[in-house]
């Protein structure tokens, strides 16, 4: 297992002084080359789970084991580019070992090559998000963590970026954790979809998708989405 999650609970301090449980009992693992997607209602704790998995929050009950040798490429829910460096420098700073050809290839895939010299404040939210996706791949990760990767993209760009992620994942045999409230993106990319309940979140259903990513037709996607919606 590249990432093994066995959480028994996670809560945040509540304004009234008590504590508000966010996550319940959650256990699943990600094998090398496997993409897991988590779908569920807004605010159910999906992003909290990603922060725990990335090791950014140690304050929880249970155990999370991330292969220490694994490199993580993360795209947070907000693009989180360094605002005082140009968009191109943001890629370069995160991935100092990447070659120019590799970065050019990623820029072409996410269609961001024309904006390398802009400061992040000058980018639209959608462009900034595409940069944060490119950055996650630029570090040559073993494990991807993408939080709402296609939010704030228009439908054509959403499709293009979704295909780009699918191509890269297949070409590099990446493992990953994708958080999304958009079930379609999850179904296009994942090998297994976990459906979360409302707070405190736990897994209420899971759906394996055996069909290879790039041969999933629109009608097949719709069928799997219908199955998952029936499960949830």
């Amino acid at each position: 297992m590249l990432l093994e999650i066995a959480i028994t609970g996670k809560s945040y301090p509540a304004p009234n002084g008590g504590s508000a449980p966010v996550l319940g009992k959650i256990a699943f693992g990600i094998r090398p080359g496997e993409i897991a997607a988590i779908v569920g209602p807004s605010g159910c704790g999906k992003s909290t789970l990603m922060r725990l998995a990335a090791g950014l929050d140690q304050d929880f009950d249970g155990r999370i084991a991330l292969d220490p040798a694994a490199r993580t490429g993360i795209a947070f829910q907000e693009p989180r580019l360094l605002p005082w460096r140009s968009a191109g420098q943001n890629l370069r700073i995160a991935a100092p070992a990447a070659t120019d050809a590799e970065l050019d290839d990623l820029c072409a895939r996410f269609d961001i090559g024309d904006h390398l010299n802009h400061f992040p404040a000058a980018l639209s939210l959608g462009l900034a998000r595409r940069f944060s996706l490119a950055r996650a791949f630029a570090v040559k990760p073993d494990l991807l963590m993408l939080d709402e990767p296609f939010a704030s993209l228009d439908s054509a760009m959403r499709r293009r970026c979704c295909d780009a992620v699918a191509d890269l994942v297949d070409a590099r045999r990446l493992a990953g954790l994708i958080i999304s409230h958009d079930i379609e993106a999850a179904v296009r990319l994942a090998d297994v979809v976990y459906v979360f309940s409302a707070r405190p979140a736990c897994i209420i259903a899971q759906q394996e998708i055996a069909m290879p990513r790039r041969s999933r037709t629109d009608s097949a996607i719709r069928e799997i989405m219908a199955q998952i919606e029936a499960l949830g």
């Binding site: 990335a54 090791g55 950014l56 490199r71 993580t72 993360i74 947070f76 989180r80 360094l82 605002p83 005082w84 460096r85 140009s86 700073i93 995160a94 100092p96 010299n117 802009h118 400061f119 992040p120 404040a121 000058a122 570090v139």
Partner: protein, 246 residues
């Protein structure tokens, strides 16, 4: 720039009229002052004293800013250090400059170390307070980014920490510079045999206002020049990313 020059010119015009109206040796005209400046330039006294003062300003400024930055960041990031050092910081902030200067001269002697040290100690608490604020305002999101992407320490300092602290450093440098300018003159007046402050004392003893102006004006000019060619461009550069153009 146009308006700045106009504003300077206006001062000279007002000065000229005032000098013409009073006709007193207590207010020499701009022309008389310029002649005196030329005279002091030729003798070499003005460049020498100005250089001495500038060297003291530079030394005290560098010491205070580097120590202040290090201590300020440590206090901003670590609560124990903050609690330990805070009473001393408040003491230093409220200690009159004159007390520090006199104590340093008595304890260390009438020398450069005491002079520069006294000025640096006067500036130090302001630098600490500014940099502590900067360290407290560091955005944890970027820290998380650096951790997940395993940025090496040098990259973190250069790309994550320094850009966030730069506006605080710039503000502290600017207010610090103006404080250091003022205190250096007091230090020179009290215990140094040269420098602009020493010449001010000579001018005061002789009631020689032309001499006082002849040293004060070039000093102010150098101060303005440093503000316009160093401090302000630095502030603009570190905040360039806040504007939308690259």
């Amino acid at each position: 720039m146009k308006w700045r020059l106009a504003s300077l010119l206006l001062v000279f015009v007002v000065w000229q009229f005032a000098a013409m109206a009073t006709q007193s040796h207590l207010l020499p005209s701009p022309a008389a002052t310029l002649a005196r400046i030329a005279q002091e330039m030729r003798s070499g006294a003005l460049p020498f004293n100005l250089a001495m003062t500038l060297a003291r300003v530079a030394a005290a400024f560098v010491i205070a800013m580097s120590l202040g930055t290090a201590i300020g960041i440590a206090m901003g990031r670590n609560q124990v250090i903050d609690r330990l050092a805070d009473p001393w910081l408040i003491l230093l902030l409220n200690l009159p400059a004159l007390v520090v200067i006199v104590l340093f001269y008595i304890w260390i002697g009438l020398n450069e170390v005491a002079a520069v040290g006294a000025v640096a100690v006067n500036k130090l608490p302001n630098a600490i307070v500014a940099m502590r604020e900067g360290a407290r305002a560091l955005e944890p999101h970027y820290d998380e980014l650096a951790r997940v992407y395993r940025m090496p320490l040098t990259a973190r300092l250069r790309h994550v920490l320094a850009p966030q602290l730069a506006p605080y450093f710039a503000a502290s440098a600017r207010s610090g510079l103006s404080l250091v300018w003022k205190i250096v003159l007091v230090v020179e007046l009290l215990g140094r045999p040269n420098g602009i402050g020493f010449q001010m004392n000579v001018a005061f003893q002789l009631f020689d206002i032309a001499l006082l102006f002849a040293y004060a004006l070039p000093f102010v000019a150098v101060m303005l020049l440093i503000e316009f060619i160093l401090v302000q461009p630095y502030e603009r550069r570190v905040s360039a990313w806040r504007h939308r153009a690259a």
